[in-house]
């Protein structure tokens, strides 16, 4: 608890640095990642992230110091090289893109690990801490390093906002952008450079192995909440920042914990929540919608049962017992009971002495469903030439979804008919 207070009061300047740095890098990579995601280049991001490791190690070997600017230059160089190599392989061999990405990723990362092991065994004392580039260490985000990363992150944000219109256009319709005379190749290079830069800002805190997740996950999660690209980018930035803070906090509380994996775990957690809970697109929303559909269908079917009994007895307002209604339907007693209660609460039926009776509006509603059912049957026989004994099952579903507009059109098309294909009366309302 003390840790929580100390951490979130930000009184310790080191914590301030770490938090500020994590937010900045996570948000900026999330924003760039949105475009990488929309251009369907998520895997490319992963390849770049892994490919910066040999660059970092080579830069250390050449300079012999852990000066962050040199390491960034090295990372940037090999990151870019990996992308050029992927494009070259795809253009000049029979190897397909996914294979090329897989090849380049593993070869570069393998080379990076070899270099790292070599450095660690060379006995050079200044190398300690270099291995934190693999999984990241937020605590390393201090002082001048932070300034360097902060500057890169801000450059990223500025470039994305300046080129927002162009990046969106190229992501949506590249050929159209070309036809307008936009420099599509340069814009592609720009996005690639931004991706590499975003990866580079993250290597200290998140590490090379998991940096791709920080690029892609927030954007993928944000996509669930909105259909507007501006909002998507903002939400992704917020999600990224949130996982940045949480990752930094956890690695503060448990100093032996690497930051990268925790950032990724929290951002994945956000993505999972989005996947389940987002309005409209989330699993729960779909589930709720499904259930609503099911209950509406169930209740409408019960109404139909009343109507059919009414047709038989030529009186729609006779009280019916549960047993009679159950005879007319394929649902269990429990469901029927629920259905009756729900219809009662809507004022379509009422209860008298353990029996149920349609109200005036209930009769109207029931008649409408029967009407839609029979109209659809007639449409299928007349317009699609389906045999009259084959149309019932179709109509059983369609009767629940026909809108008033389609209803009007159907009636108009069929010439306001009085009978369905089975010579049953189509109710007039």
């Amino acid at each position: 608890m003390d840790d929580l207070v100390t951490f979130f009061s930000f009184s310790d300047p080191n914590i301030r640095y770490v938090v500020f740095g994590s937010i900045l890098l996570a948000a900026s990579s999330a924003i760039v990642g949105c475009f990488t995601l929309l251009k369907k280049k998520a895997l490319v991001g992963d390849a770049v992230a892994h490919s910066v490791l040999p660059g970092v190690c080579a830069a250390f070997l050449f300079t012999g110091t852990k000066n962050i600017s040199f390491l960034i230059c090295g990372a940037f160089f090999t990151g870019w090289m990996s992308l050029l190599l992927i494009d070259y392989i795809v253009a000049h061999s029979k190897i397909k893109k996914d294979t090329a990405i897989g090849l380049v990723l593993s070869v570069f990362f393998g080379a990076g690990i070899v270099l790292l092991t070599f450095i660690q065994q060379s006995g050079n004392s200044s190398q300690s801490g270099l291995d934190s580039f693999i999984f990241g260490k937020a605590a390393a985000l201090v002082g001048t390093d932070l300034v360097t990363f902060g500057v890169i992150a801000i450059i990223l944000l500025v470039i994305v906002s300046v080129f927002f219109k162009e990046l969106t256009l190229v992501a949506f319709d590249e050929n159209f952008a070309k036809s307008l005379g936009f420099p599509v190749k340069s814009l592609d290079m720009l996005l690639t450079t931004l991706t590499v830069l975003a990866v580079v800002t993250g290597i200290t805190a998140v590490g090379v192995v998991l940096m791709a997740a920080m690029l892609i996950t927030p954007g993928a999660a944000a996509r669930y909440w909105t259909d507007n690209i501006r909002k998507m980018v903002i939400i992704a930035a917020i999600f990224g920042a949130l996982s940045g803070i949480l990752g930094a906090y956890i690695s503060y509380v448990a100093p032996s914990m690497p930051t990268g994996p925790w950032m990724v775990v929290t951002s994945s957690f956000i993505a999972v929540i989005s996947f389940f809970c987002a309005p409209k697109k989330g699993i729960f929303a779909k589930w709720v919608r499904n259930n609503v559909n099911k209950t509406t269908m169930r209740d409408e079917n019960t109404l139909k049962a009343f109507y059919h009994l009414g047709e038989r007895d030529e009186d729609f307002e006779l009280p019916r017992s549960m047993a009679t209604l159950a005879d007319k339907q394929r649902i269990g007693e429990k469901q029927l009971k629920k259905s009756l209660i729900s219809l009662c609460s809507k004022g379509l039926i009422k209860e008298t002495e353990e029996k149920w009776i349609l109200t005036k509006t209930g009769v109207q509603d029931a008649a409408r469903i029967i009407k839609l059912h029979r109209l659809w049957e007639l449409y299928l026989t007349n317009y699609m030439h389906i045999a009259p004994d084959h149309v019932h099952d179709d109509a059983e579903t369609i009767e629940h979804i026909i809108t008033p507009e389609i209803e009007n059109e159907l009636e108009h098309l069929l010439g306001y008919p009085s009978d369905d294909p089975h010579k049953q009366k189509i109710p007039r309302l």
Binding site: A171, F176, F182, T226
Partner: protein, 262 residues
């Protein structure tokens, strides 16, 4: 069979286009008059889409030249509009109908500038022309195929161009939309705009187009519909596959030989 035009809107001179050294269009050569609706007709794999993509500079040519309004494409880009095939984009993209139509204004805006009220007004007008005024805020994945095609048409209209190149605007479109689209195209042609349409339904050619360009890897015919759209030439474009042309193309690809010596 080729009818040449004095002062053409579009002049294509000896154009060859290849994919990885394999020519898909051989020595295409024709010109087009102003204010016509022209159909590019040919079987699958004839290179219809390739032809208009090359005209728009989306794919490079290997030889020959293209002149639009007697100038190069770059000089007249703002007067030319391109409608890609509907399937060429991912309609699940996070954009609304209005967002997409506004993209038609980007060419006039150029880099770094954002759309203003005037652009928005024009975009809304174009949406009204195609009958989508009630759908401006709709996410584009929630549209039917016909509506998506009309969004593309509205985006092209927003470009306020003089020459339009459309790749299969009638593909996957219901009869009502097809009729609405052709009416809009006629109206545009009456205003002296020129429209080139990639089309593969032979039934409707006579009704839709006043100019026909028949191709099958090479130009078979180009001229007024009543002159060139006859059984003999259709037969030549659809039936007479020049197998030698394909074979030579395969060798060029295999041995990576450029179609011109220099």
């Amino acid at each position: 069979m080729k009818e040449d035009i004095v002062d053409p809107v579009l002049e294509i001179h000896d154009l060859t286009v290849s994919y990885s050294r394999k020519p898909v269009l051989w020595d295409i050569d024709f010109s087009l008059p102003k204010g016509c609706i022209a159909g590019i007709i040919g079987p699958n794999g004839a290179g219809k889409s390739t032809l208009i993509k090359t005209i728009m500079g989306v794919i490079p040519s290997s030889s020959g030249y293209i002149k639009i309004f007697d100038q190069t494409l770059n000089a007249v880009r703002s007067r030319v509009s391109y409608v890609p095939q509907r399937e060429s984009v991912d309609w699940d993209f996070p954009a609304s109908v209005l967002d997409v139509v506004l993209m038609g204004r980007y060419g006039k805006l150029g880099l770094f500038k954002n759309t203003n009220k005037q652009d928005k007004r024009i975009a809304l007008e174009c949406l009204e022309k195609v009958g989508l005024q009630d759908y401006t805020k709709r996410q584009i994945s929630q549209l039917s195929g016909g509506q998506q095609q009309r969004v593309f048409l509205a985006r092209a209209l927003a470009q306020e161009a003089d020459l339009y190149l459309m790749d299969e605007p009638f593909a996957g479109v219901d009869a009502a939309t097809e009729k609405a689209i052709i009416e809009i195209l006629r109206e545009m042609a009456n205003k002296n705009k020129t429209i080139i349409v990639v089309h593969h339904d032979l039934q409707s050619v006579v009704n839709y187009f006043d100019w026909v360009i028949l191709i099958n890897m090479r130009l078979v015919a180009s001229g007024p519909t009543q002159k060139v759209f006859n059984n003999k030439l259709i037969q030549e474009a659809y039936g007479g596959k020049l197998t030698l042309l394909t074979e030579i193309g395969n060798i060029l690809e295999e041995r990576q030989i450029p179609p011109r010596e220099k």
